[in-house]
């Protein structure tokens, strides 16, 4: 286990397909996604609701429910294939080697048990420890996530904690068996802005210290900018762009990422109208021919309507756009203005 090469990715998803069987045939919800996360790296996965980002996380944790099924591709954790494991094997893997953090901390915790009991039970399920040792480890974990007075708070119930403190407990719960990979699905969405920053800081620090790889699923570009090392942008079940966080946010290559970034209001300068992407994401039943974004794309040309682009490497990232292949990646005007404005301000 511990002999694995440090440069090899913790998570390696290769050409993943997920389908939903319906009366009208199989709907392709995820259509060929490949991504890797290195030890200690935080990969942000962004996209609008329905883009398939949570579904990808669900498939990795083995929690995909019928009628959804993995119809192709493979998922490897530290080189071992995990997409074809039995439910029992998967259950042992979850918690031990993959931790999960969900959006609403109140539903992730059992309201009838004290926080300590839930932590101790999880620790003892996965690690060979007696009750006293597990309790000691639980107290240490609570201290690590920044919970004040963990010795007394460990015996309290979830309802006695505030939202931010509950999410800290959930992080402790996810990290209690020292997993190699954490799937964090919208971990700060239910929290207030001032608490969001605290939770992101805790998550980031712990993953650095423990060398845990994190898949951070969120629709909030602000959270990505704060926390992620690399970003994967999803649209209609496909990856449209991957790259280092600064590149994707400031110099997006794909027209969809550009539109997404430009539609976010900013306090740095005044605009009368926000840039908007016309229309909405296609339904799974009506995925357009060619590039899935072409009906909404201001730069679409004939090839975009006929042929579907794969990810094409550009700089340190990749974008699924024919313009990138032709070396004519459209510039992103609004953000450029923002940059110059900031420079003037300094």
């Amino acid at each position: 286990m511990s002999t694995h090469n440090n440069t090899s990715p913790v998570l390696d998803v290769n050409d993943l397909h997920i389908e939903f069987d319906t009366r009208h045939g199989a709907l392709k919800a995820i259509d060929g996604i490949s991504l890797q996360i290195a030890p200690g790296e935080i990969l942000g996965v962004v996209g609008e609701s329905g883009a398939g980002k949570s579904l990808t996380g669900t498939a990795i944790t083995g929690l995909l429910e019928s009628p959804g099924r993995i119809s192709g591709g493979e998922i490897r954790l530290e080189g071992q294939r995990i997409d074809n494991l039995s439910q029992d094997e998967m259950r042992r893997l979850r918690g031990r080697r993959i931790g999960a953090i969900f959006q609403d901390p109140l539903t992730s915790l059992n309201p009838l048990y004290t926080v300590g009991r839930q932590l101790i039970e999880t620790i003892r399920t996965h690690l060979p420890m007696n009750r006293a040792q597990a309790r000691q480890r639980a107290i240490e974990l609570l201290a690590e996530v920044g919970l004040p007075a963990p010795e007394t708070r460990i015996d309290q119930y979830p309802h006695q904690f505030s939202g931010g403190m509950r999410q800290r407990v959930v992080i402790a719960l996810a990290l209690c068996a020292d997993p190699k990979l954490v799937i964090a699905d919208e971990p700060t969405t239910a929290l207030d802005v001032s608490v969001q920053a605290q939770i992101i800081t805790v998550l980031k620090r712990l993953c650095r210290e423990h060398g845990t790889a994190v898949m951070l699923v969120t629709h909030d570009m602000g959270v990505i900018a704060e926390a992620a090392d690399r970003v994967a942008v999803m649209y209609a079940g496909r990856l449209v762009e991957v790259g280092p966080v600064a590149d994707v946010i400031k110099h997006a290559k794909h027209p969809y990422t550009q539109g997404l970034m430009n539609s976010i209001p900013t306090i740095l300068h005044d605009v009368e109208r926000l840039e908007q992407i016309e229309g909405s994401m296609p339904r799974l039943t009506a995925i357009p021919e060619g590039c899935t974004f072409n009906p909404r794309c201001p730069h679409a040309f004939e090839r975009c309507r006929a042929e579907r682009p794969d990810l094409i490497a550009v700089d340190e990232g990749a974008a699924a756009c024919w313009l990138v292949e032709e070396g004519a990646a459209p510039a992103s005007p609004a953000r450029a203005t923002a940059d110059t404005l900031v420079e003037h301000h300094d």
Binding site: M221, T266, I267
Partner: protein, 365 residues
């Protein structure tokens, strides 16, 4: 009936004119009367356990002071926003202003009349002039009604138009005004996406020709690209129909984009009110500064951040004196004892902070 017809007709024709007049009015308006003047507004909720429990457990009543003495004005044609973290009372104010909730104390003057003291009948007369858009477009539209019926309901309730054809024509206009098709009136809400549903909510709010709309987190449930569409639409409609907005949000970037003036709330009180550039560029109250620091840094300019620890205390047991003092880096003994009074040191705004009053804290750019 005739009036509404002519109103909607003239509105469509004279939209650019109205917009330019509106812009002119907001430039010099120092002597203008506010549309809303809210004074010492309070709303307390009794959350005590049942009488028997109180007797057995020897506990007193428990009161949550959701809104505890709030003063502000809203001027015609402007967007006034309330920001703050969950539980600070901003949504309670939204409901009080349109009369969905009764007040505990204080007055809500709408064009000089205190609507908090209005009888039911008096309230009915002004109700169609005040409308509301809610956060969750999945919960605020009746799933069993067709979109056309949903939008026509205010028209029928307030008796604004009579006759099927006329109402149908008006619904069509409203749908097209918010970027939907006339045929959409035959569909049910579940056939629409979140953004389209919020457009339906807006069309319904506009159906009674209101002058004032309370928007309670209208884009919080939407994706950013859809949020941009809705915010743009709201700004366009504001100009076309000369609307005044009370906008409630926890998202400071959205508030900066849409507002003219902003009020910052903390535990049932307003701690700072000001024109948006003033408030965002030169924040005075330590809580405003903290909120601004917590905005995620999308531009990655390496802005210096001073994260403030702690969370909002329980509104059941708020701290004494200035409610922000346990989290405030500038708190003194006085802050723990005395509630700070508003200092009106900016135009159409104020700040309630002892440190500012004593000159210990000076606004910086």
């Amino acid at each position: 009936m005739n009036m509404t017809e002519t109103m909607s007709a003239s509105m469509r024709e004279a939209a650019p004119l109205a917009a330019s007049q509106n812009a002119g009015a907001s430039v010099d308006s120092s002597a203008e009367q506010p549309v809303f003047r809210i004074t010492n507004l309070k709303r307390h909720f009794d959350v005590s356990p049942p009488l028997l429990n109180r007797l057995l457990e020897r506990k007193g009543r428990q009161i949550v002071k959701a809104v505890d003495g709030v003063d502000f004005e809203i001027y015609r044609g402007e967007t006034f926003s309330l920001v703050g973290e969950s539980g600070c009372g901003k949504s309670t104010i939204a409901k009080l202003v349109v009369g969905l909730n009764g007040t505990t104390d204080g007055s809500i003057e709408f064009e000089g009349q205190d609507i908090a003291r209005h009888s039911r009948r008096d309230m009915d007369a002004v109700r169609h002039r005040l409308q509301m858009i809610f956060q969750d477009p999945y919960a605020s539209l009746n799933p069993r009604w067709r979109v056309g019926e949903i939008i026509a309901e205010p028209i029928r309730t307030f008796g604004l138009l009579e006759g099927k054809a006329e109402i149908k024509q008006r619904v069509k206009e409203l749908l097209e005004g918010v970027g939907l098709n006339a045929q959409d009136s035959e569909k049910y809400p579940h056939e629409f996406s979140g953004g389209q549903r919020q457009r339906i909510s807006i069309a319904r709010a506009l159906a009674s020709n209101p002058e004032f709309i309370v928007c309670d987190e209208p884009t919080s449930a939407l994706d950013v690209s859809v949020q941009a569409q809705i915010l743009n639409l709201m700004k366009e409609l504001q100009q076309q129909h000369d609307l005044t907005y009370l906008f409630i949000s926890h998202d400071l970037s959205v508030v900066y984009h849409i507002s003219d003036r902003v009020g910052v709330m903390y535990l049932g009180r307003l701690v700072e009110v000001g024109e948006k550039h003033e408030l965002f560029r030169r924040p005075q109250h330590p809580y405003t500064r903290m909120l601004l620091d917590s905005i995620p840094d999308l531009e990655m300019t390496g802005r210096a951040r001073t994260p403030v620890g702690g969370e909002v205390p329980s509104p059941l047991d708020p701290p004494s004196g200035c409610a922000f003092h346990p989290r405030c880096p500038h708190a003194t003994a006085r802050c723990q004892q005395e509630v700070p009074l508003p200092i009106h040191n900016v135009e159409r705004g104020f700040v309630a902070c002892h440190a500012v009053e004593e000159g210990r804290l000076i606004a910086t750019d």
